[in-house]
């Protein structure tokens, strides 16, 4: 890709990320509950997947040749909903119904209610297993589709993550790419203080995965890593170093905003900041 093309790509993906951050803050603010911190930390990852890397058809959500995405850290649902709405899976107005009775946008992803959601998640440590199952199924059918899963670092304290890691490594699932939103924080505090995850890259390598590391807010780094993950003969883990609450000064690296919605005043302040940052 030419430098000018890369610049254009960067500008486009950064612009969309900024817009989606506003949607996320607004929808959680309106809902009055939700998880802003871990939603804001994974925006660029989702934008790069849905608007750069993945083959998918928003008007045909069940297109058999689509790449699959699993949000294993299901509490980041607002980020997923924002990108799905941006792609056209459903009307953007739906975003303002988040978490309300009867909404297609549940507190955590629900495949039966939300177009574009491949599998219901929310109880942590299960989405990566489901992604392994999809990768196995697509491989059995000889389909070229790829499966992408987004997991959290705090989520990786779940044993199920490592059961899935072992299975994927054993089967050399080269159609599976996991991205870790490594924001370093969980509800009770910094992960390293709650239960330290240790050397994540070494752990994944030991389980038979290839590991790439990127700045999870640098869209070109994320895109390059997603491209670099193609054509390996093992599952790939992209450890994306991110900032919890990214983009809103008073939410950044603030565990209080893991699972707390901004007040109306905080919502206004956050939206103003995001507006000015662009």
């Amino acid at each position: 890709m030419e430098e000018t093309e890369r610049d254009e790509l960067r500008a486009k993906l950064e612009g969309i990320s900024r817009e989606l951050r506003k949607d996320i803050v607004r929808m959680i603010g309106l809902a009055g509950s939700g998880h802003p911190g871990g939603s804001l930390s994974c925006v660029e990852i989702l934008v790069c997947l849905y608007l750069y890397k993945m083959r998918h058809r928003p008007r045909e959500p069940h297109w058999p040749l689509r790449d699959r995405f699993v949000l294993s850290k299901g509490h980041a649902a607002p980020a997923l909903y924002a990108v799905l709405a941006h792609c056209g899976y459903f009307d953007r107005e739906e975003l303002w119904t988040l978490r309300r009775l009867g909404s297609i946008l549940q507190g955590h992803p629900d495949r039966l209610r939300t177009p574009g959601v491949e599998i219901s998640t929310g109880s942590l440590g299960q989405g990566l297993s489901a992604a392994c199952g999809m990768a196995l199924g697509l491989r059995m059918d000889g389909l070229p589709c790829r499966v992408y899963a987004l997991i959290g670092d705090g989520e990786s304290q779940e044993g199920g993550i490592w059961e899935a890691a072992m299975l994927a490594g054993h089967h050399r699932l080269d159609n599976l790419v996991a991205v870790m939103d490594n924001n370093g924080m969980q509800i009770d505090g910094p992960c390293c203080e709650v239960v330290d995850l240790g050397d994540l890259a070494a752990k994944w390598r030991a389980f038979g995965w290839e590991v790439l590391e990127v700045d999870g807010h640098d869209v070109l780094q994320v895109c390059d890593a997603l491209d670099a993950a193609d054509g390996r003969d093992a599952p790939v883990m992209i450890i994306a170093h991110t900032v919890k609450g990214k983009g809103v000064s008073f939410m950044e690296n603030n565990v209080d905003f893991h699972g707390k919605a901004p007040t109306p005043e905080e919502t206004e302040r956050a939206l103003r900041e995001l507006e000015e940052s662009g």
Partner: protein, 314 residues
């Protein structure tokens, strides 16, 4: 006492899987390092490309099964009932059932008749756990033929299902012509005095109890209630409306199992004097099958006694 031909119900599972696998390329079978015990190994040998062993990782087994089903497969996931429903409950509830995926959990070693391995391997709450999950169908077949036919039927029911299989060889009640009707209580013996509803291992015990009762002039109507969820409301109410008494028999705790399901129905629709034969809020223990059946009050004598008590009281 009647002489029964004994046969392993898990053979029925293995046979059904081979038949399904032969006809339908969507059938995928998974196990968690118990393929020899659950008999999924026979499928593995025939269709290795459609078999996945997750190793000793039951939570991963269930969530991976969900992912496979999301690609259009009909997935049979097997391990022991204890681990399928207990260890992996969250995965079964949240990733399989909440997503309404085509995962058929066929778990062996349900109930006290696991025997010598003892409490850690004796699932006595599995029916209660699975029955409480919205959309989960629960089938507890009684013998080789019923297992075989139930498994084939369950493959094509929409959504998730739980099929409970046992460990020991059990009496053959049916024959090669057996036709499984999902959701219908199967009348095995008509009678006017008391309705006996049994599932799984307890079905032959109920038949033996009915013979014992007949010798005393009590005519028991015996049903094989293989489908615990959804319950055959009409079939049960029709019988109970005639007999006015009901005994349920299950190799499971009486809290939340088949007997509870029947009690939920009758207490609201047709309050009826009732006795529940089952395990009374206790853990299992090591012992031989026959010793355990006696120890936990699951023998035909116990069933007959419950029926007799009802008949004399009402």
């Amino acid at each position: 006492m009647r002489e029964w031909e004994l046969r392993n119900t898990r053979d029925g599972y293995g046979d059904a899987l081979l038949e399904l696998g032969e006809k339908d390329p969507r059938i995928v079978v998974m196990d968690a390092d118990l393929a020899k015990s659950t008999q999924t190994e026979r499928f593995k040998l025939r269709f290795p490309e459609r078999f996945v062993d997750c190793g000793v990782a039951e939570q991963n087994l269930m969530a991976t099964a969900a992912g496979l089903a999301a690609t259009g497969k009909i997935v049979f996931a097997s391990t022991f009932a204890m681990f399928a429903t207990g260890r992996a409950y969250d995965q079964v509830r949240n990733t399989i059932a909440y997503s309404d995926l085509e995962v058929k959990i066929c778990a062996s070693h349900g109930g006290i008749t696991v025997g010598e391995d003892g409490s850690s391997h004796q699932a006595l709450e599995d029916i209660a756990l699975m029955r409480a999950i919205p959309g989960m169908k629960v089938v507890v077949p009684a013998d080789y033929y019923e297992v075989r036919e139930a498994v084939k039927a369950v493959a094509y029911l929409e959504g998730p299902a739980y099929v409970r299989l046992g460990r020991p060889k059990v009496p053959v009640i049916f024959d090669a012509g057996y036709r499984f009707r999902f959701g219908k209580a199967l009348l095995l013996r008509p009678g006017r005095d008391v309705t006996i509803l049994a599932c799984g291992f307890m079905v032959h015990k109920a038949l033996e109890a009915a013979e014992e009762l007949a010798a005393e002039g009590i005519e028991a109507e015996v049903f094989d209630l293989h489908t615990v969820k959804p319950l055959d409301r009409e079939g049960i109410l029709e019988s109970v409306s005639r007999t006015g008494r009901v005994v349920t028999c299950e190799e499971h705790t009486v809290m939340g199992g088949m007997g509870s399901a029947v009690a939920e129905l009758l207490s609201q629709e047709m309050p009826t004097p009732m006795r529940m034969v089952g395990i009374k809020d206790r853990f299992g223990t090591s012992g031989s099958v026959e010793e355990l059946v006696e120890h936990y009050g699951l023998s035909s004598r116990h069933i007959a006694e419950a029926a007799r008590e009802l008949c004399s009281a009402t």
